[in-house]
């Protein structure tokens, strides 16, 4: 629950912090041109802003700033254990942006980052070079929209379009673009390719309303998904995180029925199911940021440094959702 007065805070992107070395990049110029009324502040390094101590993540979410930077070193990471690799041996992810415009109450980013401001790394060509180097060694499965929502930001960065263009010429590269956005229109003109998967996160309407602040409604996400499938794109549905909420069975049943009323199960590339789970240390910080959050204050159990629902509740929830989804989608396409 937030009591901040609207109007007391600056509008989103009222300030844009620009690293000196990012100034001459084309994307920097485009973004500054787009936000003509923003205050532009030159900085030496994005961490001077992003990593300040004692920032107020929740208030910053209501007045986020943009930080334009050049990322150096470690552009591509190996996938984390808590993330589903969908059977891909060479599973990597990359964060060409950090943070997103949405404000999901359960988001692990508020435990991972000290700031809610949005960093855009403008040197996408350097990311491509590093992926090319990896591709010389082995095929690569790359998630490009984990710590952000690239599609939601497409009208500002064109990054989804650029990654797809890159993937078009690198068949050993498979890209996953995870999103809650209903912004498929921004890329609807692009011809689909086999090695790109759009992964939409779907939640019950009540979860969207209560906990996924500023995100598109379920129906709008479904409309985007339908458009993507119609254009020939591979679409993954992510019921992840599944949350323990009041009447969770009913809520998830309604969700799943609604999803597959709108989208034919056999047109889905695959489905990913996951319960809410987060590093114990992140959870501690998240609770500090949002002490009133029902969803974060559930008495989770900690196993191996990861906090999630206790075993019996976990099994109940995941099996329930699995059974409901498997009414519509082949079981071998469902990943838990």
């Amino acid at each position: 629950m937030q009591t901040s007065k609207i109007g007391l805070l600056n509008r989103a992107f009222s300030h844009i912090y620009v690293e000196k070395r990012a100034k001459d990049y084309e994307l920097t110029k485009e973004i500054l041109n787009r936000f003509k009324n923003a205050n532009i502040i030159e900085i030496d390094h994005y961490k001077d802003i992003f990593c300040r101590s004692n920032q107020n993540f929740v208030l910053q979410k209501q007045s986020p700033k943009l930080i334009l930077a050049v990322k150096q070193n470690n552009l591509i990471y190996r996938g984390a254990d808590v993330c589903e690799d969908f059977g891909n041996k060479h599973f990597f992810y990359t964060s060409i942006m950090m943070n997103c415009i949405y404000d999901c109450e359960y988001c692990y980013l508020q435990g991972m980052y000290t700031s809610a401001n949005i960093v855009i790394f403008v040197n996408i060509e350097d990311y491509f070079l590093e992926v090319k180097e990896l591709l010389k060694k082995h095929p690569v499965y790359l998630c490009i929209s984990y710590d952000t929502d690239l599609l939601a930001f497409e009208r500002i960065t064109n990054y989804v379009r650029k990654w797809i263009d890159f993937a078009r010429f690198h068949k050993d590269l498979v890209i996953e673009i995870r999103t809650k956005s209903a912004n498929f229109d921004s890329i609807k003109d692009i011809t689909s390719i086999e090695n790109v998967i759009f992964a939409w996160t779907l939640s019950p309407d009540e979860v969207i309303k209560k906990y996924e602040h500023n995100t598109p409604s379920l129906q709008n996400r479904l409309n985007s998904i339908r458009s993507a499938i119609d254009k020939g794109w591979k679409v993954r549905l992510c019921f992840d995180p599944i949350l323990y909420i009041e009447n969770w069975k009913e809520q998830y049943e309604v969700l799943i029925d609604k999803v597959f009323k709108n989208i034919s199960g056999n047109k889905i590339y695959d489905v990913s199911l996951g319960l809410f789970r987060v590093s114990k240390d992140y959870l501690k910080r998240m609770r500090k940021q949002r002490p009133n959050s029902v969803v974060l204050n559930f008495p989770f159990e900690n196993e191996g440094g990861v906090s999630s629902y206790n075993q019996s509740l976990s099994e109940d929830m995941i099996m329930y959702v699995y059974k409901k989804v498997s009414k519509y989608v082949d079981k071998e396409k469902i990943y838990i």
Binding site: K5, L8, N10, I43, N56, Q62, V294
Partner: protein
Amino acid sequence: MLYISTALYIEAQEFIKKLNLKRDNSITKFEVFKNEDVLLIITGVGKVKSAVAVSYLLSKYDIKENDLFINIGVCGCRDRNVQFGEIFICNKILDNDTKYTYYPDMLLAHPFKEASIETFSRKVAEEEVEAELVDMESSALYQAASLFFQPHQIIFLKIVSDYLNPDIIDNKHIINIIERNADSIISWLNTLGRGLTTNKEILTKYEEDLINMVAENLKMSTTMKFELKQLLIYYKLVNNDIMEVLKKYLELECKSKNEGKMHFADLKNRLVK
């Protein structure tokens, strides 16, 4: 509470008058003025004096999340197109001695222009200055205030008094440019602060005491007590009341830890169904 610092009395006097601040005679080391909502300290000129004064003042109080720290003062300006008396909020603070840079978090909306400011320990020549504005306190004040406030709660409001030639200005000039601007500053200050609350204690002190009592009755370890507290925070967020569910355990006295564990398991089941 609004904590205001100025380097000089003449920078403060208009605010003391208009906000009806009274001298706090319990503080003798610095001049401090206050009313119910505002505390104003005259720090003296320069980095060391200002940091010492602000640290001294702020360490006396329990700073809340809707409190703000505001430094108000005159400053020099490189740009001769800027009029004397023009107000700026600083979005970047450079320390000329250390070359460190500090960034207040620009969350609060305001009606003024913004600029960077550079803090020097001495008189400066124009060609040495990197930032748009110049003063002698901001970088030190930011560092001191950061110990007590989050970066969005720290505000630097500067009024241009000269073009890097402070020797030619006198008290009358300073008083005059502050007088001209005091009303607009005060009317902005009146809009601030009250809406910045995001946190709220879930459990009351009374409820915390009851939890301690139950933990004692059930002979709980520290870990179990922590677990119980988290369960009750969740239960209260969902049901808005924990008294009903705790009642039974307030009068219970377990003879052993094992008995306590059995009751705790029962309580857990009642709390999370």
